[in-house]
Amino acid sequence: MRLFSWWLRRALSAVVTLFLVSILIFTASRLMPGGFAEVVLGPLASPEQKAEVTAKYGLDESILVQYARWLGTALSGDFGISMISGEPVTTEFGLRLPVTAQLALFGIGGAILIGVPLGVATAVRAGRRRGGAAVGRLLSGLGVSVPEFVLGSVVVFLFSRFALGLTVGGYVPFGADPAGNLQSMLLPAAVLSVFVIAVTARTTRDAVLTVLVEPYITASIARGDRPAFIVCRHVLRNASIPIITVLSTVSAYLLGGAVIIEYLFNLPGMGTYLVQAVGRRDYAVVQAGVLLAAVVFIVLNMVTDAVAGVLDPRFGAAAKGRKQ
């Protein structure tokens, strides 16, 4: 019952945040340069044509009514029509989401399968030898310091210049040609993973180091437990909250569109689409894309809290006691 009320609070809080986010996005879209009518009709339209468009889209009504209408249609899954292609935004997103999702899956996979173990291993080894700490710091620092567009450019250059077996670009859907799809996704996924793995490993290492000095770890060592046992039974679960938080941040970041990677490798995903939309002032697409990214983020945050509550029994209690 207490857990339920905590949940209710958490969900309400997410809804409030989402509501504020939507206001922010709506306001931002109204502030974008070039009126809606001008964008639709081009700069050479006559005042009469503009008035007609304004009336047609309800732009002459009060801002509140406009916001309410936008929110209403957005809630029903209708994000309007892309002005460039004339197709519904939802349809356009449907085409591009799989690409982004696939890329995100690779990234998250890398983070979980490589980043987390790497972080645990380096943290557990940190106590064993001294002096190696600086080198570890340098390497993990390097991982988060190489921007995707720099590493990506290097990879593009190397693979375009020399015949290294993989080609750059030439995306094909998985359904059409699985092998070709994987081949085209491998490089962008690898570039993307470097940053994601480094971030995850750093956070994991920090979290594990914090747990390792807790008295219950000392108590476990004093009982003669083996290191592997201590890590599996005590360390991982106690270090899990920062780890799943960073995983959720990384996932949201990836699902929001690994914009730069998609752009660089010319993948037809959400990120590329969003960049094009801003360039062409396709505001309905920008609005919807940003809102979607924010929704993904907020939902992931909620899921994270849920998982954290399950993994650490104190978490729910602590979150509940926060407002006292």
């Binding site: 009320s5 905590w6 006691g321």
Partner: protein, 249 residues
Amino acid sequence: MILELDKVSVTFSAGPPWRRRQVPAMREVSLSLADGEILGLVGESGSGKTTTSMVALGLRRPTSGTALFQNQPFPKRRKQLAGRMQAVLQHPQWSLNPRMRVGQCVAEPLVVFGGVSKAEVAKRVMGILDQVGLDPSFADRYPHQLSGGQRQRVSIARALITRPPFIVFDEAVSALDVSVQAQILNLIKDLRAEYAFAALFISHDIGAVRYVADHVAVLRHGAVVETAPAAVFFGTPEHEYSRQLVEAL
């Protein structure tokens, strides 16, 4: 009377807004403290000692009941109390601002009180440092260069610099080692003889309370179960719980 608590109750609210629970921290606590008297307040953790000290210092308003300081209700503006009450608190590692020199720390209450020239402040700081048994050179040191006992001396110097009529010692010697604790207890006794301040001496250590207090009050579950002059209390404790405490001595 320097401090009078009359049936003071304090409750905290907990839980979500739609199901507020009231958690009592003090239940109708009545205490009074005469000028120059030391009242020892004993109790386990969670018995309401800290809340009582917060009320006595005017940092928390009673939910019900009245608290009078020098026969008047606590003023709205904290500034009006400046120089009239001070506290020596529990944690030696956080009792002094690590970014301030000892001299600045000790001078702070006097500077806040105002109306004293810089030269006078410096003179008073040196004087009070000497009183608590610290060399004048300590004024230029930072807290991390001091031991726990020395820090507590600095805290006492800071509390005394405005010569307040009332001081709260909240577990002021609990974190100290036995050999240093005795020094600080003796210091408190000596300074009280000289400055004649009244004090609320809060501790879970019944031995320390016996050593410095004139009166003793025992708190349990937020309520006072016994108050008595120290000699009477330690001779013939009335309440069952008090008897256990005295026996454990």
